[in-house]
């Protein structure tokens, strides 16, 4: 557990970056610090490993005042990930990852073998071990940065905008893998971002800071969306809060209707027969995974990939209300496609039924 008590940082010249911040970051959870630029989120992070010394107040890690610890020892016990990775350009990927183990005095062979394990853990091909950072893509560099922070298996990870320097598609991949990794490792993570969507997606709890470094609200993401403390937090959260909040509500009891399907490659007559007058017909592959929709009356031949309408999103049974609602809204037939965990079709759900569910139990938390 990391506890900040009345922490203040005033820079020479009198600018207060952080003012009277008290915050508890529970063990094994992700605490996200989020806020506009100038809110002191990075300063707060850097005070935890004493890269910046607080002007007043105390910071405790597992009950020990960090001011009483040697800064080097403190930092080697915390993983540190920054935007862009901050990799050492003169070292290979493997040696970058082995940095902290070597600082801790492990022998080279053990440090390297642990580094190789970390590469696998963050999804880096072992063929990259001998490469240098300038030969990697931005996403790969960021993975190396995470692997390097994990190498000595520290209980605490400090992450400063680690996914901000990559494009949105890669960022989403990295976020998903980060959550999967955290489910496995259970680190105490302090995560700084300016991106509220990232904060809501990743945080177990989210601390919204306002300019000047005061805490505006500390809450779980669902609570933040449902009940912003004030106008500042509400504005910062932005639009569609109600809709986004549905992502945190599970949808276990939706009425699922069976959906007639044809397999890709079926001829037009089979499709029209199966549709039995419906405007849209769902097309699946051999493994019963939904591929898209067709309009049987418009078919001139067989059902091919070219005839498919692919706009609809697919929700998982037992997933969130947001995913189920979005599946219904994005489907051309207005019937939302639901699949099981293996991606096989279960049935469809209508937006109306999702709405009924939303009204029935608005505050249920995700499973």
């Amino acid at each position: 557990m990391i506890a900040l008590r009345e922490v203040t940082k005033v820079y020479p010249g009198g600018t207060a970056a952080v003012e009277g911040l008290s915050l508890v970051m529970p063990t094994g959870q992700i605490t996200v610090l989020v806020g506009p630029s100038g809110c002191g989120k990075t300063t707060t992070l850097r005070m935890i490993n004493r890269m910046i010394e607080p002007t007043s107040g105390t910071i405790e890690v597992d009950g020990r005042d960090t001011a009483s610890l040697n800064p080097g020892v403190l930092r080697r016990g915390m993983g540190y990930v920054i935007q862009g990775g901050g990799l050492f350009p003169h070292r290979t990927v493997l040696d970058n990852i082995a940095t902290v183990p070597l600082l801790l005095g492990w022998d080279r062979r053990r440090a390297r073998s642990v580094a190789a394990e970390q590469m696998e853990r963050v999804g880096l091909a072992s063929g990259l071990a001998k490469r240098y950072p300038n030969e990697l893509s931005g996403g790969q560099q960021q993975r190396v940065g995470v692997a390097r922070a994990l190498a000595a298996d520290p209980p605490v990870m400090l992450m400063d905008e680690p996914f901000s320097a990559v494009d949105p598609v890669v960022r989403e991949q990295l976020q998903d893998e980060f959550l999967r990794l955290q489910a496995e490792l259970g680190k105490t993570i302090v995560f700084v971002t300016h991106d509220i969507d990232e904060a809501i997606k990743l945080g177990d709890q989210v601390a919204v800071l306002r300019v000047g470094g005061a805490l505006a609200q500390l809450a779980a993401p669902a609570e933040l969306l449902a009940d912003p403390a004030d106008d500042f937090v509400a504005d910062f959260l932005g639009r569609d809060r109600g809709y986004r909040g549905l992502a945190f509500t599970a949808a276990p009891d939706l009425p699922i209707a069976p959906e007639p399907t044809v397999v890709l490659g079926a001829d037009g007559d089979t499709a029209r027969l199966t549709a039995a007058g419906r405007g849209w017909l769902l097309v699946v592959d051999q493994a019963d995974a939904p591929l898209g929709w067709v309009q049987p009356t418009q078919l001139s031949g067989a059902v091919t990939r070219e005839t498919l309408h692919r706009g609809g999103t697919v929700a998982t049974v037992g997933g969130s209300l947001r995913a189920a609602l979005d599946a219904a809204l994005s489907s051309p037939s207005r019937r939302g496609v639901l699949v099981d965990d293996d991606g096989r079709l279960v049935g469809t759900v209508r937006a109306q039924d999702v709405l009924t569910e939303i009204e029935r139990e608005p505050q249920r938390s995700p499973s």
């Binding site: 800064p71 020892v73 990799l87 050492f88 070292r91 902290v100 600082l103 300038n134 030969e135 790969q140």
Partner: protein, 241 residues
């Protein structure tokens, strides 16, 4: 130009205590002593300035000011001031080395601090954040990353020193400058021009040695990636990102 070629290819001129081999060795010796002394001053000072960011303005201005002093004039002043304090050959050697060192330090100093300053701030920040001491950050991250610019300072200094070490002959020391001074005195233009050719050849040869050492010493990760190599390698290993 044939008389230059004749002078250079006549084996008689290469032999003996005032032959080309001996002059080459003397010249190389002056340059080597100068560079060792200049590096011992310029590199630590440059690393300190780059690492701490302190004293930069003062040292840079001083170094540039020293650069503008005419070397030949400084040489005569140094002999007049230092010469009487010393005895024997050293009376000329020390002033000569002193003047060459004054010339050699600024490029080395500039290379060292520019090298450290050019290190990616995020790499430095990460190093500190992972628990490296200031000393470890310097030696494990900053210096290896600064090596290309440190080498470029050393090399440009070396070229200047080898060219300028010819002046030592004007205060009765040896080196390849002897051929220039003596050649002029005897109106032996073959010897003069031949000496100049040797100075240029020596400078290039030493630079080549430095280039090889640099290639071995500097991490391949600091050499810009050529696009052809990158795309070729990317195809070999699937990109998981």
């Amino acid at each position: 130009m044939s008389f230059v070629w004749e002078w250079l290819t006549n084996p008689a001129y290469w032999q003996g205590s005032d032959g080309i081999w001996v002059r080459l060795a003397e010249h190389l010796g002056y340059a080597a002593i100068t560079l060792v002394v200049a590096a011992a001053i310029g590199i630590p000072l440059g690393l300190w300035i780059g690492h701490t960011g302190r004293g930069r303005l003062a040292v840079v201005n001083l170094a540039n000011g020293v650069r503008s002093v005419p070397t030949l004039g400084l040489l005569f002043v140094a002999v007049l001031v230092l010469g009487p304090l010393l005895a024997g050959d050293i009376a000329f050697l020390v002033p000569a080395i002193f003047v060459l060192v004054v010339l050699a330090v600024p490029p080395i100093l500039a290379g060292a601090y520019a090298g450290i300053e050019s290190v990616d701030p995020s790499a430095r920040d990460a190093a500190r954040g992972m628990g490296m001491s200031s000393w470890q950050v310097l030696w494990r991250v900053e210096v290896p990353c600064a090596l290309p610019l440190i080498f470029s300072g050393l090399r440009s200094s070396t070229l200047q020193v080898i060219a300028t070490a010819t002046l030592t002959a004007s205060i009765s020391l040896g080196g390849l400058g002897r051929f220039l001074i003596d050649g002029q005195a005897y109106r032996d233009y073959g010897q003069m021009a031949g000496g100049a050719v040797l100075v240029a050849a020596l400078a290039m040869a030493v630079d080549l040695v430095f280039a090889v050492v640099q290639r071995i010493a500097v991490s391949p990760g600091l050499v810009p990636v050529r696009t052809s190599r990158r795309s070729a390698r990317t195809r070999l290993v699937p990109n998981p990102a």
